[in-house]
């Protein structure tokens, strides 16, 4: 990496008293000794003032200039900051952080990392600067530098909690949920009254399929969160989770609170209501909710699949076939609907049409298992990467397949 070396400042040479005396010409000796002293003192003052300007006044000026042009001309800003750092003998921490930031903005990521690597004790730097560097690094997809700068923010700094939030997000991006959870725990301890860490923990646990623990964290979040909009999102999440856990009574309480708190329910709220009513054994009520959604969004596939399932609950297999067929037409990779359709067709007396859907359901299930297997495997050969990408495509995860093909290492 081409780490820009701090250049030594071009300071004027300081005359030494001895050399000065020996180099004087004869006519000058005519001056009185007091005059010489005055001149020497004056020069010394000038030199001192210059040194003060050079070392103390000029670098901050350069930094201010760089800050002013950082967004529109990061290259020029980087040069100014290089001079500022050089002027201060490489010991201007905040300028170095800003220099790294300018280099990031200029697209010179490796130089930025090199710049960072020589900053002595970055944790003593300005935390706002570190945070800004992290944000720019994250935006420029240089997660390593973002993580390093966020970690440099001291545990005692008021911005530490913001830094942790950013770190959690970064850890999640690289799939390191264990580290993210550790940070979320730290954040919860740091700000006990803050609902956000609990929300983060809940989401992380949900991703890790630790559903009872996720529900517990959502409860903590809701006990702290007062903002109506964020509270509504929390209620949606916990209701979904409790329904998945089969905890009908609390799910009902939470969903009722959500319904009371909103002027207008979203289609997904009606679908959640339908799911919960089905769990409660109220098939008729669930049907009504799904119909509400389909009245405004007739091609809502989630609603169609649910109505097909409810039709099976009611023993109306012909109606179930129509809805489930609509889903399959749009989502041939929908394994659950393929299976339900096979069952509905069989029970509607159309067994010959059912077998193909049963076979397809089995095939899709096996593909899902293979995806899990390959993902758990870690190091994949080129053939396996191709197999995984194909499996993802066939199970409807096209964007994941594209990402995999673009960047197999990720």
């Amino acid at each position: 990496m081409a780490r820009p070396k701090p250049r030594p400042p071009t300071t004027p040479k300081q005359p030494t008293p001895g050399s000065f005396a020996s180099s004087q010409s004869a006519p000058l000796r005519a001056f009185a000794p007091d005059t010489w002293k005055t001149v020497a003192a004056g020069l010394l003052i000038v030199a001192s003032l210059f040194a003060v300007w050079w070392y103390a006044v000029r670098p901050p000026q350069l930094v201010r200039q760089a800050e002013a042009i950082l967004e529109r001309d990061p290259v020029q800003a980087a040069e100014l900051l290089e001079n500022a750092v050089a002027s201060s003998w490489g010991e201007y921490r905040d300028a170095e952080v800003l220099w790294a930031r300018a280099l990031v903005r200029a697209g010179r990521w490796e130089e930025a990392l090199g710049c960072w690597s020589v900053i002595q004790s970055p944790e003593l730097g300005n935390s706002r600067g570190l945070l800004a560097l992290a944000d720019d690094a994250a935006a420029a997809d240089v997660p390593l530098l973002a993580v390093l700068s966020l970690k440099a923010i001291s545990p005692h700094d008021p911005l530490r909690s913001v830094a942790i939030e950013r770190l959690i997000s970064l850890k999640q991006q690289v799939g390191d949920n264990v580290a993210a959870m550790g940070l979320a725990e730290e954040l919860a301890q740091l700000k006990p009254a803050n609902p956000i860490p609990w929300l983060m923990k809940a989401r992380l646990r949900e991703q890790a399929a630790a559903l009872p623990e996720a529900a517990a964290d959502y409860r903590e979040f809701l006990s702290r969160e007062k903002d109506p909009a964020r509270r509504a999102e929390g209620l949606r999440s916990i209701t979904r989770l409790l329904t998945a856990l089969g905890e009908r009574q609390e799910a009902r309480t939470r969903l009722d609170e959500l319904s009371r708190s909103l002027v207008t329910l979203r289609p997904e709220d009606h679908l959640q209501e339908a799911q919960l009513r089905r769990l409660e054994g109220d098939i008729k009520g669930a049907w009504t909710e799904v119909e509400l959604v389909l009245a405004s969004e007739s091609s809502n596939l989630t609603a169609l699949e649910l109505r097909g399932t409810l039709a099976m609950d009611r023993g109306d297999y012909a109606a179930a076939v129509i809805d489930l067929q609509s889903v399959i037409n749009q989502q041939p990779w929908n394994q659950g609907s393929q299976y339900k359709l096979s069952q509905a067709l069989t029970k509607a007396g159309r067994g010959d049409e059912a077998s193909g859907h049963l076979t397809e359901s089995r095939r899709l299930h096996k593909l899902s298992l293979r995806i899990l297997e390959l993902r758990a495997q870690g190091d994949l050969t080129a053939t396996e990467i191709d197999e995984l990408a194909q499996a993802l495509e066939q199970t409807g995860l096209k964007s994941a397949a594209e990402r995999l093909r673009r960047n197999p290492a990720r």
């Binding site: 856990l245 089969g246 089905r278 054994g281 609950d313 393929q338 096979s342 069952q343 069989t346 359901s361």
Partner: protein, 561 residues
């Protein structure tokens, strides 16, 4: 060894759980708990040994063991047989068996350990399941024990002792891992044949695990069907019968599921699809699980199925199927629609979500409160020590049948045992004290076998024992119909219900309080349909095939034996 086993013992001190209770209605609901734990006064002191104390984290130690409730000495009182399990070597994970236990019922409330007297103290291999049936038609129930290694057939000699006839019966083969078993007359020759489930091909290893490995880490061990040759020997007819080789069976129940008087087998498989074998005219069985709709959950995914039962849940006269499943999976209730079709109906009958986070094992559809509707229980406990979503010890569940339209959870009224956490596995039901109420016996991994006595108010009841003549003497697959509570009730004789266990063969039938006599219609596995009239309530009746009266509609043609 008899009495207390070498396994880990001691009751769990875990706190009770506040499971939600539905308000109860009706005449038969007790004010207090449904069950009373009387283990401590029963003189039964036996613990299944899993070998977990060796800390090898083997999959073997997670499966657990069963119990059998059967009247071995024909003194009319239900005796208790407990599977022993085994120990696991700390260094090599190699298992070895521990002795099973046999407890003679003295007067309903107390038992005497007769393990040594019965000749059962030599240990089998590491044992799991047990199933009873009169294999040799001598009137005394015999016992089959499934093991990791060699299974064991114990013939009841009728004098209070048993003889190990495994080798003589041709049931000794290469060591393998069998779990559940069920009896049923497959080829309709009047003899009980044997279906045994295979689990996975785990072998002892030096490898260290951080937790119990998943069954997907291993290959399936095929199930087996043995035909009874009527000469004391069994012949492996698995291939001839078309038994699939891809199951990882933990449960199997034998019953006449489709009312054609042929024995059927429903196999609960772990992590792969469940199998339903329907009987045909010959030895061949037809596997129709996926087409019939009983192989998967409602979304078409296989589940980790363990416990199994079948009975008419909704009162339509058809036999429905039921399995208990792994964590975050609902148990599966498949309502029988007739014509070979079933529908996954856990949600419709309000069972979705009940116990969903738990790992569910032993189970039973039984009329505990004597209202003529089959209630439901399932007992739980994790298989993984550290990496499960819920702890190793878990609460269990009890649900009351709401007139066939759904179930209401009544776990908190189940009694102290239901309110505490356990690592429960095998369960059996039977009327231990002859009071007309079904009691419950539960085997767990970390504590002694528990005896729970039913405290629901006694209703009017009738106990019947069916004895086959053309059919096997233990007539698995028989169907009994009676009119009670204003509707026709259907009960079936099954083998293998629950988990690795054997429940009382006699049928306990609830009838109205003012009934003076009861008429029963029995459909025998031979195809014979008979009526037994004027049976007195609050008593036990022995119904022998061929001694009833033939109803006019069924007198037509009977299949030749």
């Amino acid at each position: 060894m008899s009495g207390p086993s070498t396994g880990t013992a001691g009751r769990s001190p875990d706190a009770t759980d506040s499971t939600q209770t539905q308000p109860l209605a009706g005449n038969h609901v007790p004010d207090g708990d449904w069950f009373e734990d009387r283990t401590s006064t029963s003189l039964v002191d036996f613990s299944y040994a899993s070998g977990r104390e060796a800390e090898r984290m083997t999959i073997l130690e997670t499966v657990g063991g069963g119990v059998a409730l059967v009247d071995f000495d024909l003194d009319t009182r239900l005796d208790l047989f407990c599977v022993g399990g085994g120990s696991i070597d700390r260094g090599t994970s190699r298992p070895s068996g521990c002795s099973c236990g046999l407890f003679r019922n003295l007067e309903g409330a107390h038992f005497r350990d007769v393990t040594a007297v019965a000749g059962l103290n030599p240990a089998t291999d590491y044992s799991h399941g047990c199933v009873c049936g009169d294999v040799n038609s001598d009137g005394f129930p015999d016992l089959f024990i499934t093991c990791y290694g060699q299974n064991c057939l114990l013939i009841n000699l009728g004098d209070g002792t048993f003889s190990d006839e495994t080798a003589a019966a041709g049931l000794k083969g290469p060591p393998t891992w069998n779990t559940a078993a069920a009896w049923g007359d497959v080829n309709r020759d009047g003899e009980l044949d044997l279906f045994v489930t295979g689990y996975v091909d785990w072998i002892p290893t030096d490898a260290k695990y951080s937790d119990v490995p998943a069954p997907q880490s291993f290959r399936a061990v095929p199930d087996q069907l043995y035909l009874n040759s009527a000469d004391g020997r069994f012949v492996d007819a698995s291939d001839e019968a078309g038994i699939r080789r891809d199951g990882m069976g933990l449960g199997v129940i034998a019953a006449d599921v489709n009312d054609d008087q042929r024995i059927d087998f429903y196999v609960a498989n772990d992590v792969v699809e469940n199998h339903l074998y329907l009987g045909t005219d010959g030895t061949a069985l037809q596997e129709v699980g996926a087409v019939a709709g009983v192989a998967f959950n409602e979304a078409g995914s296989p589940e980790g199925s363990m416990g199994v039962d079948c009975a008419d849940v909704n009162g339509d006269g058809r036999v429905d199927l039921w399995t208990t499943n792994y964590e975050m999976e609902d148990n599966s209730l498949y309502l029988n629609l007739g014509e070979g079709q079933f529908q996954h109906s856990s949600t419709a009958l309000r069972l979705a979500g009940v116990g969903r986070p738990q790992v569910k094992f032993g189970t039973g559809l039984r009329d505990f409160d004597g209202d003529g509707w089959l209630d439901l229980f399932f007992v739980n406990g994790h298989v993984r020590y550290r990496q499960g979503r819920l702890p190793f010890l878990q609460t269990s569940n009890l649900c009351r049948n709401d007139h066939g339209v759904g179930f209401n959870e009544v776990t908190s009224a189940g009694g102290t045992w239901f309110r505490a956490r356990h690592a429960a596995r095998g369960t059996a039901t039977g009327d231990l004290d002859g009071d007309g109420r079904l009691d419950l016996v539960i085997s767990s991994l970390t504590e002694p076998v528990a005896l729970l006595y039913n405290r629901c108010p006694t209703t009017n009841w009738l106990r019947v024992q069916l004895v086959g003549t053309r059919s096997p003497r233990t007539p698995i697959g028989s169907r009994v119909r009676l009119t009670a509570f204003g509707r026709e009730c259907v009960r079936t004789v099954t083998s293998g219900s629950g988990y690795l266990s054997h429940s009382e063969d006699k049928l306990l039938l609830a009838v109205e309080a003012d009934r003076a006599a009861v008429d029963l219609t029995v459909t025998w596995p031979s195809g014979l349909v008979e009526v037994f009239s004027g049976l007195a309530p609050r008593s036990e009746s022995v119904l022998v095939e061929g001694r009833g009266t033939t109803p006019p509609a069924s007198a037509a043609s009977l299949p030749e034996k």
